[in-house]
Symmetry: C2
Subunit: 293 residues, 2 copies
Amino acid sequence: MTAPAALGFIGIGLMGRPMALRLLDAGHRLTVWNRSRDKLAPVLARGATAADTPAAVARAADVVMICVTDQRSVRDVLFGADGVAAGGAPGKVVVDFSSIAPAAAREYAARLEAECGMGLVDAPVSGGVPGAEKGTLAIMAGGRAEHVDRVRPLIAHIAQRFTRMGDSGAGQATKLCNQVIVGSLLPVLAEAVRLAEAAGVDAAMLPEALRGGWADSIPLQVFAPRMAARAWSPPLGAADTMLKDLDNALALAREGGIELPMLRDAAQRYRLLSERGLGGEDPAALIRLLGRD
Amino acid sequence: MTAPAALGFIGIGLMGRPMALRLLDAGHRLTVWNRSRDKLAPVLARGATAADTPAAVARAADVVMICVTDQRSVRDVLFGADGVAAGGAPGKVVVDFSSIAPAAAREYAARLEAECGMGLVDAPVSGGVPGAEKGTLAIMAGGRAEHVDRVRPLIAHIAQRFTRMGDSGAGQATKLCNQVIVGSLLPVLAEAVRLAEAAGVDAAMLPEALRGGWADSIPLQVFAPRMAARAWSPPLGAADTMLKDLDNALALAREGGIELPMLRDAAQRYRLLSERGLGGEDPAALIRLLGRD
């Protein structure tokens, strides 16, 4: 499957566009669909073919990739009128890059196989738009090993890391673990910055002083300076989006019968931000909950 | 000051020994003192000279380095009978690698200058015994710029990073910020591991799946596998030691009139561990608070 394959790509948005462009640049034929058709222009200009429905994408392609904003969109694209299931066939595989609940990923995989015989790999991504543009995304996959292995050569064009974590839903569960760590670390970083300030230390120097050590991380390097400067524009993401992920993680914990107190407290910080009307702000705004301004 | 200097080193323990050995290997003359004299053997074998008291070290050396276990030991070494202050003189500088409260560092600096005219740089280290052996420690310094700059060429033999964060106490305050981040991250990592398990994902794969991304850090790579395996021996440190640091950070926050809820909750996790008689265990044992065993 290193030879050009017949691919489909559904969802040509902020993330989907650079991913689709990289696949086109690698020489693959791409049939594309997007709810707003005008978003297709950049990929059509590079040789992609527009389809009228997700079902038409599934008929034209052996591997259908999906990158949409939320669970409802995934469901509509797969199982709505003229959805992927209506055009799919055994032997074909869907790779869903969207972030949705693990239980939904399991349900959709079972339903897709029952309705049309297609496989489904849940493959949420980490790395944002820059990672999608550079092909350096990290992708956590769930699904049958044969399906994951089959799409691996294609994914190599868009990700530097593609790890099968288990059966359907395992990719989504791993993405939530990722969000638990990042989402809890951000309010901790706000507290470290605030403590430095309160102690008379120049908090803007923390990332440099701690670089390469146990306290270092990409969030320290990216967010601590923004927190110290009280500057969160242009935004790197919305606090409310993180809150949605943390609430999904809390729901997953409840399903598993476990309590995660640090996560619960972190989610509470984002909720406070939201209640103050700051949920649309960058998470760097978390430092505003700690006084001084 | 790149020429060999007359140095003193007080506290030849787990951390102090490799630091002293690196300074000897770099060609510096070293006068040493340790409360238990038998610990001196490895450095005497490499050419160091033993002194009978900290005061004698201060008389023999231009720069006196201290690396002891706690605040009381620092105070005794500096201001006890035959302490450094009794042998010090203007123009000489003390570098204290120990981790103590920022307020104590400020007080000791003022008192040392008043009693004998010596400067004091607070210079707590991060990187542990491996960092001390390899000379890759990160050191956060507080004190007068002239004192920090004077010892910088010597520190280059034992640390890869030596950052002046401000006046006396700023190094200790920065070390506490470091501990706030690491100490709060560890219980978060335990929760991410536990969530993966509850969702049926192989938690031992998390470090590899998340490597290089926003959730990555040295603690993820080092501690998540230990947590997943419920294996914390040989210990990388004691939970109670971290709790002491987090309580010092909470005290510093109170002095500054700020509340740090994530830090308070993290400290509470270590306190629970301690109450269950597990305070001497490695912090990886935090995962035992989350059920299953």
